[in-house]
Symmetry: C2
DNA sequence: TTGAAAGCGTTACCAG
DNA sequence: CTGGTAACGCTTTCAA
């Protein structure tokens, strides 16, 4: 069973391969007409023959010749990560609506792996990259930029980089929102647990927290505890115990994983929220509604983040300038921030 | 900035393009030596020149010429789904260790979309497909098989299909395990909630449940409630209320999403587990350990499922026969199945 | 509106 | 071990 090529179609339809190529690449305009310099009747015949023969375009050949591939790469730090699992779906759908296929690969927060993955994608002639950069990933990303591959930074900014699209959450606002909600409810000794990842999203959420504390004359109470992926579990245990001993009111965690760890630790210690410790978590999860007390949390507009990142990238591929888009977070209230009595 | 080709390397190293091609494709054997019919010193020189010039292989060209692409496709029903988010990561890692790049795309449980996605992948010359088939997806999958593209069925079996690899959970055993755990703890009126998806994994878990009930002379109590994705929330509400009224002891849910819905409903109704209703859930989630009472659940060997599916596929690409692998589930005990008093 | 012909960068084949 | 050369299927001038 030989592969049907553009030539077979051309022969069968009594036209040149050029025409077949034109027809196969033509986009339909609003009226459903083929938008190409081909006689409509000829085009129709070509389409019919292609259909009848079961012609399937060979992207490898097209890509080799044209240097394009109708393919974009998405590089989160970890596909199985909660935040990205949701967003990747939105990216996929939006990309498909533009006629692009999406490849995924994780960077594992390792610059080395990010670099390899980008190399591999570039060797596959991908047309653009959406990436959530890990610390130290600038170099790999600059390699892509220098090779004229459009890049969109998603979720995490690298300020130094300029010729790239950016689709970010207003992380300062997110940090403020979380903190101010607690303050509004009467909490004063509010602390935060964060990762030492050195990525913009976390440090800006921290800034938002600090700003809110400062604006409300609570800066003396402000304290941020730091941990790493590897040590998060045991650090959280220590931090929570210590916080309760010191009479801390409330905790703000700027990622889902930290929120889950805090809840888990509190459950283990038999601590109640908001009685023993009020809580604001991050990102969406069934957990927030299923926990003994429902948990207030910051919600990112996943769908918009995903779709915008594709739109910005597609525009860049089309030669338009890189945009920077900052989206607003929302807060979903639960019992964990009920008014302090 | 022109792209460096195999020709540039050949010229610079004073050898033919053939040799460069050999060297670039050579795998290293266990001793780190290049496994190809090229003089080691020549090979070394070629490697150095390639490195120096910054040569990057053009996969499109290689794919066009060879018909292969070193790329495999993975098609879950939904990337953002909990079970697949975890497994996709294992697939990616294992595939990379074989030198394959992975593309993901969701089928959305729609045969039509599955078919489109498979077409698109085939046009990209992918070397093999790992798919969790949706109901009605046989046709699309057979198209791939007929085009001699190796296919591995993951998680869901289609018995009728023969020339495909299969990597499955022992779903009957999973259903039995869950049910027998409840029986062992003294529960007798055990019911199940399941989806009408018509996929093998669910119906086999149901069989396991039925078998366990039968083996323990509880078949008269056996009852399976059915719902659909769309109606699951309101159906669960009704089913749980009704079950409690009828004095049902325990519920077994064969997917994570159903488990979460049941927990959520019980929380809303103020029902306690195991007091009001004992529970066995499915798949792993933070929820099971964070819920007021920890929840007993069936655990699938994600890592093995992912890795085996890649191994079976790679073997098939290498011309070896299709294998069928069935992996054993485990059960993780929580408070939700404590002994009935 | 149509067609001929020149590649894109690689691998496969055949000779040496 | 090494090298020359013809494809692979498509897009892209250029010319008619």
């Amino acid at each position: 069973m030989k592969r049907i090529t553009i030539r077979d179609v051309a022969r069968e339809a009594n036209v040149s391969v050029t025409l077949v190529s034109f027809v196969m690449n033509a986009k339909r305009d609003k009226d459903g007409n083929l938008d190409c310099p081909v006689n409509p009747e000829t085009a129709k015949r070509v389409l019919e023959v292609a259909q009848r023969l079961g012609y399937q375009r060979n992207f490898a050949a097209a890509s080799l010749r044209s240097g394009r591939s109708n393919t974009i790469a998405v590089i989160p730090n970890d596909i199985s990560n909660k935040f990205f699992a949701g967003i990747s779906r939105c990216i996929e759908d939006r990309a498909q609506s533009f006629g692009y296929t999406v490849f995924f690969a994780s960077s594992d927060e390792q610059p080395q792996k990010l670099s390899e993955v980008i190399d591999s994608f570039m060797a596959h002639n991908i047309d653009g990259i959406i990436v959530a950069p890990c610390t130290g990933g600038e170099e790999a990303i600059e390699k892509a930029i220098n090779a004229k591959v459009p890049v969109v930074l998603l979720d995490r900014d690298i300020e130094r980089l300029d010729n790239v699209g950016k689709v970010l959450l207003d992380d300062i606002e997110a940090g403020k929102m979380a903190t101010e909600e607690l303050i509004k409810k009467g909490y004063k000794k509010i602390e935060m647990i964060s990762y030492t990842l050195g990525i913009s999203s976390l440090s800006l959420r921290e800034s938002g927290y600090r700003k809110a504390m400062m604006d409300n004359d609570l800066y003396d109470n402000a304290k941020i505890h730091y941990t790493t992926y590897g040590d998060a579990e045991k650090d959280t245990e220590r931090i929570i115990k210590d916080a309760v001993n010191r009479g801390v009111d409330a905790i703000f965690t700027p990622t889902y994983s930290l929120s889950a760890l805090v809840l888990s630790e509190m459950k283990r210690l038999g601590l109640k929220t908001p009685g023993d410790l009020a809580l604001v978590g991050f990102d969406e999860s069934d957990i927030y509604s299923l926990y003994e007390t429902t948990v207030t949390h910051i919600v990112q507009p996943l769908k918009e983040l995903g779709e915008k990142s594709v739109e910005v990238l597609v525009n860049m591929i089309g030669g338009k300038p890189a945009e920077k888009i900052v989206l607003k977070p929302a807060i979903k209230l639960g019992g964990s921030t009920d008014k302090l009595k």
